[in-house]
Symmetry: C2
Subunit: 339 residues, 2 copies
């Protein structure tokens, strides 16, 4: 596999959908592979909740759908993840919990600038993503219909569903309820708040079946308490205010919530010209198969391929489960081979 | 319907499974109907999480399975619900967050004393329950096999499943993380903690489909925020330390975790002589159909009747949804008519 290259793209003063200016904004990213002479071998794969530009790596490699010998794969960091403009690195007064709401729309507009200005490309073969980055893939298709040949959303949706919103509100309200939150939010985690965040994540990210069959033990935890401690350890690497801002981004996700479509979901999904592949997991607790099914008829050229797995939402997480990775890889190969 | 009668049964110093003595312990309860001369028309129906002895009422009435013209229906309050011995009413030093762990086993042992000593009965026609009280129904069947003719668990399980435990741990860790918890826990709720508790409950108690189809609006909330405010209002009526103690009871639920069975679930479920009816809901997020299916073969005379409903766990909550109530009522009639 060709070595990944890290980069940073300066956006300057970047106007958000809300009208707020994000000063000296930038996107972190990595690329895999080489941009060809005709500049037409691009795949864009943004990051997801509590993820960064390294997260896509398990999907990338020689012989895989995302083969860096053939494709130039760009993995832009979402705003708020600490590698792009975020509460933890923004200039005052927009730092910490004063960071403005950044939507998936804002992210994709910035990513479009990255691709067109930094790499001078006029289209992408595939815009894809898992979870929150799956939501960005819909935005790519709807906002830049002539730029995007294919999109794939894995365990994602065009809009955050009401139940998904409630789940996210649990993170949000837990953070807001913790001691000292209103005074900062960029400080270190309190162990008690981390325990809540880990418990929410553990309850929702895998399926009930996964726990019933004891798969957390295969994952190296002897007990549920150990599993929770491991989950807390993962979140501890995040700056609390960054995770908080990212939660708000997810809650606001709606491909139709912009001046292009004014809340008309039929219009937004109908605008997608890309060949579209939706891959929900049948045990995902918050991105539901039924959500994708409801979208299917509204997207001109769309197909649904359900991941059958006990891994819940994590089925779509690169590297979580080899069987699910292989299933997605085969589907992506087919998608990329299609005209 | 014959008017319900409230009562209070003094247990004296009650030894818990743990060996701790609950001093001057008591059970609150209500009864519906009249104990017949042969004292053989008893139904026992304990309370569930965040419930009290009024909660069963929608299931009780002339012409219903739980007909007070035919049955003497006893609804004992669980320890920790404020109507039986609880953190909020226990004598120091066991009050507040120092209240000892009370298990479903302890509750059912106390309820057995109520039925035999207060009412002098030698058996029950039916021990039933929803959710945590469904868990108690299994205990009735396994601990007093010759006393119980029938059991019915609605959206319950013999043991709290790992995923269910994680869900409950979210309540537990949220309460533990709130400001001032360690100093009391019997004080009033902080609005911020209430918001977290409401968000957890809203995320888990109904199904994703229920929210997708906008049923929260049928329930009188214009928005998800209004729905959350209503849910918070419900929990606000609870003393925080009582809810905390009840959460621990639920987490500890395991019909085999006692000296009778020493953790042997096959032995515990195999000890049940009662005709057993298990009624999970197919969209319940924490008491899963698969949990009941795994139990089915271990109980000598058991049947599974799945409630097909978008109401999730709430499908089994008396009065939540008329269709689900009617389905359960018909199943209970059949169960009570069986020999």
């Amino acid at each position: 596999m060709s070595k990944a290259a890290e980069g940073r793209f300066e956006l300057g003063d970047f106007e958000l959908q809300s009208g707020t200016i994000l000063p000296d904004a930038f996107l972190g990213y990595v690329t895999h592979g080489t941009l060809n002479d005709s500049r037409d071998n691009i795949i864009v794969y943004p990051t997801w909740y509590a993820g960064n530009h390294n997260g896509a790596e398990p999907y990338i490699g020689q012989g895989k759908a995302l083969d860096p010998d053939h494709y130039f794969i760009v993995v832009p960091d979402m705003f708020t993840n600490g590698y792009s403009t975020s509460p933890s690195n923004c200039v005052p007064p927009l730092n910490g919990i004063n960071f403005p709401l950044v939507t998936p729309f804002d992210n994709v507009v910035a990513q479009y600038q990255l691709l067109t200005e930094q790499f001078g490309v006029t289209g992408v073969q595939l815009a894809m993503g898992f979870s929150m980055s799956g939501q960005q893939a819909y935005h790519w298709g709807a906002l830049y219909p002539d730029f995007v040949a294919r999109i794939c959303s894995i365990c994602g949706s065009a809009k955050t569903a009401p139940h998904n919103w409630l789940y996210l509100n649990t993170y949000k309200s837990a953070m807001e309820s913790s001691e000292g939150w209103s005074n900062g939010g960029t400080e270190n985690w309190s162990p008690k708040l981390l325990a809540v965040i880990a418990s929410i994540a553990a309850t929702m990210a895998w399926s009930q079946d996964w726990f019933r069959q004891g798969s957390y033990r295969d994952a190296g935890a002897n007990t549920l308490e150990e599993f929770l401690a491991g989950t807390a350890g993962f979140f501890e690497t995040w700056v609390p205010a960054d995770l908080y801002a990212q939660t708000l981004t997810w809650m606001a996700a709606d491909v139709s919530a912009n001046e292009n479509f004014n809340g008309d979901m039929n219009a937004a999904l109908g605008a997608i010209k890309a060949r579209t592949l939706l891959m929900p997991c049948d045990t995902d607790m918050y991105f539901r198969v039924a959500d994708n099914e409801a979208e299917l008829a509204k997207i001109p050229t769309a197909e649904l391929k359900v991941i059958h797995s006990s891994w819940g939402h994590m089925a779509g997480m690169p590297g979580a489960n080899p069987d699910d990775d292989a299933f997605v890889d085969a589907a992506l190969k087919e998608l990329l081979a299609s005209g």
